[in-house]
Symmetry: C2
Subunit: 509 residues, 2 copies
């Protein structure tokens, strides 16, 4: 019926795609010309939310209006994440329409006004988040409405379930399936690369998916990638786990708890803590990955993510109760978060520390080995109900005997082959300006130096720490070495280090 | 000292501007190439917040990374609002740097966690908002943290003061200076164009600044612009007011309460009500404009902005107390918000209604005249402490005698010359599908029809309503006429109208 004005309007609302290659970091943006007929007919203006359809795929994007010749009037473009999500191609025709009103926004509004939400409301809201229907503004409102302590335990459980149910789930034929997660914030804390081979060598199943760095100098996936491929398909990952009992891969190829990824995207720049969301975020990812026993490493320290023992205690209770309600066993290990772990900060430098521990090198960092053994023993204890002393002895024996190192090599082989970490061509040593004792190390600023030096994009870049809290230093004693792959990055990291001379604080007494 | 690495790095962080013409609606965005040396050296990635400096001006923008040939590696671009704010020119060199950490974010975080803030904290936060230091995510968090009833009266007053203090203020030599504001949501409610000439003809000073439409089919400035220029400099506005006692101009040339404009930018898409913010928004703008006596028109109805008498009552109390604390007199007039006012919806159609009332046309819409007289009388009463009956008689007499019409013409002349509203070439009548009584008119949807028809960008476009609540209609009786300037826009509005046949609801009894 071509005389039906609705139908006619729908048919007319198409534009031809041209790739501009703009990366907005996961926010879906559609670019249209100010005078394009779709903008005029639909009354779209900058910041309008628009449903974009390509074939049988669609998403909702935010409009940015282009007023010059970068786009022609009959053309449109998409931000890179939207381009990939729609599997777009140069010249393809997209349809543009007003999106249906989102029913779940009334639940969001109720939460913003302080009301507790029923499980069905959480499900509706999280399903819309996972489908990409929420703008960044809506996501920020949701994160803010949950911040502080506005999610009770019942809501935390409902949120976790909703996050699991709106993503993919992995299933394993073995039991138990264990996992380990660190509530972040501690540079160099790369125990996963040690725990996985120890636990797998002990006969447990530990299919570990890890993230890449977003705001830190290295994520576990970045560090592992220095040693072996991590960008595995799910089928490849399954083969590795079936053969070796464990893996260390990047989790980005499996859409587990996709709503969590989207909320994290706005949580990081906002930097709000929400206890309910931390619990939901961790548990949803782990349960979707098929884990039955989950150990959580929670470093506590003045510049770590969790800054007080009281918060750690509340979080542990929430994790335990929510885990029980969701049918998994969760244990939280509170650890010292006062300073970085190991010596290296940055993918290759951390990988070097890991290899030293695995190979039983005399110079390997004690604290990294000690943490890894403690956590590996906790995992064994949690999953096998073994006595604490026996678990610890078993973990030590697996590491000391070289079993862990052999298992790690086997896992790397299965993932595509072990390789050696690169070394940075440029280094510069920062020395103490006075003598005394090392009294504080600023986790955030030392991480910033490593990032400015190029980590994690430049895998060999980063920082090598030469001192520990309490150590005696003299004027001129090396405090840390900056590693960089280019002179520009080295300069920039050194400039920042010079402005913040107290990153490693040395005091007389 | 060229060997100082900080200095060297700063000097290197420049890029040449190229205008891409992307309109992000006020959000400052900087576009840089993925491989540009500044991104690499500074570790910037998509969504990084970046301080952009051009000459002695600077702002903080969000980074979008470009990965193709649209920008070269040594080039950068800015969103249109940022381009204008920096008064940028093609080829100019900008400097890019990490912004200083925003101290006021700790106040924002405290508010998000539910703590009441001291006046100094509000000031610091609003100063950063006004300076454009907050990202859209931060603004969304702030709006969310204030939503519902999370601002007490003391905080409301502190927020209002902070908004006034961080913008420009107008000063007038006369006293009292009156103003009138409508807490929006009612299509066609264009009483300002009647109240200003009545009140000015009565000898009071009423320097009215109005806004353009953001999400509605017409703002007061859009409707006035059909009849006379509204884009006046502040000096021109002052001359108009000094000569005629009143004006009706667009407020965009004076940065009064700029933080409010930025918060509104995210409030609208979020669609949260916050009583504290409504009060702060209105009072900050009016007090910054130099008003001493402020009348607030508050339509209440099921599809108006204020939906219940209880909310209206609470808002009135807040307005009264906050006004008193801030040294101004505020009166709130609660009016019927059940249906649109007058007949026309859209700039030219509303202007036509206004002219009919001013000219004493027999066919002029009664409800528009009646509302204008009531409000004008309330303004006179508030500012001169006259008896209600006398104020009403005075307003009626000014309107009936033609004094108001002459004053309106004089104001238009002073603003640049009176002109006649345009007429749309295309119209289509929507008729009743059944007989009965008009039982409901959906304010939001009828406004949507007018917007889809092209209002306010197409000034002659909009809707002409032919019925009122309670009116008897038969099958085929005209309910409303859609006016459009192009066939595409007419089609689109009619398509929407066809999908929502109950915009004007007709029921048997």
């Amino acid at each position: 019926m071509s005389s039906d004005p609705v139908h006619a309007a729908t048919m007319r609302n198409t534009l031809r795609l041209r790739r501009l290659g703009i990366d907005t970091y996961q926010e879906a943006v559609v670019y249209m010309h100010r005078r394009c007929h779709v903008c005029l007919a639909e009354g779209f203006s900058a910041q309008s939310r628009i449903q974009v359809t390509l074939g049988d795929r669609h998403l909702i994007a935010t409009l940015n209006v282009v007023s010059n010749s970068m786009l022609r009037e009959e053309e449109a473009s998409l931000s890179e994440s939207a381009w990939h999500a729609l599997r777009a191609e140069e010249g393809a025709c997209i349809e543009l329409a007003h999106p249906e009103p989102l029913e779940s926004l009334s639940a969001l509004r109720a939460k913003v006004y302080g009301q507790p939400l029923a499980p069905a409301a959480w499900h509706a809201m999280i399903a819309d988040v996972a489908a990409g229907h929420y703008s960044n503004l809506h996501l920020a409102a949701l994160v803010t409405a949950c911040a502080g302590d506005r999610l009770d335990l019942v809501e935390t459980i409902a949120l976790t379930r909703a996050m699991i149910d709106t993503g993919e789930r992995l299933a394993w034929t073995t039991h138990p399936v264990v996992d380990k997660h660190c509530v972040g914030g501690l540079p160099g804390n790369r125990t996963t690369l040690l725990i996985v081979p120890i636990v797998a060598a002990a006969g447990l199943t530990i299919p570990k998916t890890s993230s890449r760095a977003i705001t830190s100098p290295a994520g576990t996936a970045d560090t592992m990638e220095v040693l072996a491929p991590v960008d595995l398909s799910f089928e490849h990952m399954r083969r590795v786990v079936e053969r070796e009992g464990g893996c260390i891969v990047w989790g980005g190829n499996v859409r587990m708890s996709p709503a969590d990824d989207l909320l994290i995207r706005v949580e990081r720049p906002l930097d709000f803590d929400s206890e309910g969301q931390i619990v939901a975020s961790v548990l949803s990812k782990k349960i979707a990955a098929g884990s039955t026993h989950i150990l959580i490493d929670m470093p506590v320290g003045p510049t770590a993510k969790v800054r007080s023992a009281a918060v750690a205690k509340r979080l542990r209770e929430r994790f335990n109760v929510a885990g029980a309600a969701l049918g998994v066993r969760v244990d939280v290990h509170v650890s010292d978060g006062a300073q970085p772990v190991g010596r290296g900060i940055g993918p290759a430098l951390e990988a070097r520390d890991v290899l030293a521990v695995l190979q039983g090198d005399r110079t390997a960092p004690d604290d990294l080995r000690e943490r890894a053994l403690t956590l590996a023993a906790k995992v064994l204890e949690l999953a096998t109900a073994a006595e604490p002393g026996r678990s610890r002895a078993r973990a030590e024996q697996i590491l000391a005997s070289g079993e862990a190192w052999r298992k790690f090599q086997a896992i790397c082989d299965a993932q595509g082959g072990l390789r050696l970490p690169p070394q940075a061509p440029l280094t510069h040593v920062i020395t103490a300006g006075r003598s005394g004792f090392c009294r504080a190390i600023d986790n955030r600023r030392i991480a910033q130096v490593a990032k400015l030096a190029g980590a994690p994009v430049a895998p060999a870049a980063g920082v090598d720490l030469h001192t520990r809290l309490g150590a005696r230093v003299d004027t001129g004693t090396p405090l840390y070495t900056v590693h960089a792959q280019t002179p520009g990055e080295l300069d920039y990291a050194l400039g920042y280090a010079a402005k913040h001379a107290d990153i490693v604080r040395v005091e007389e007494r």
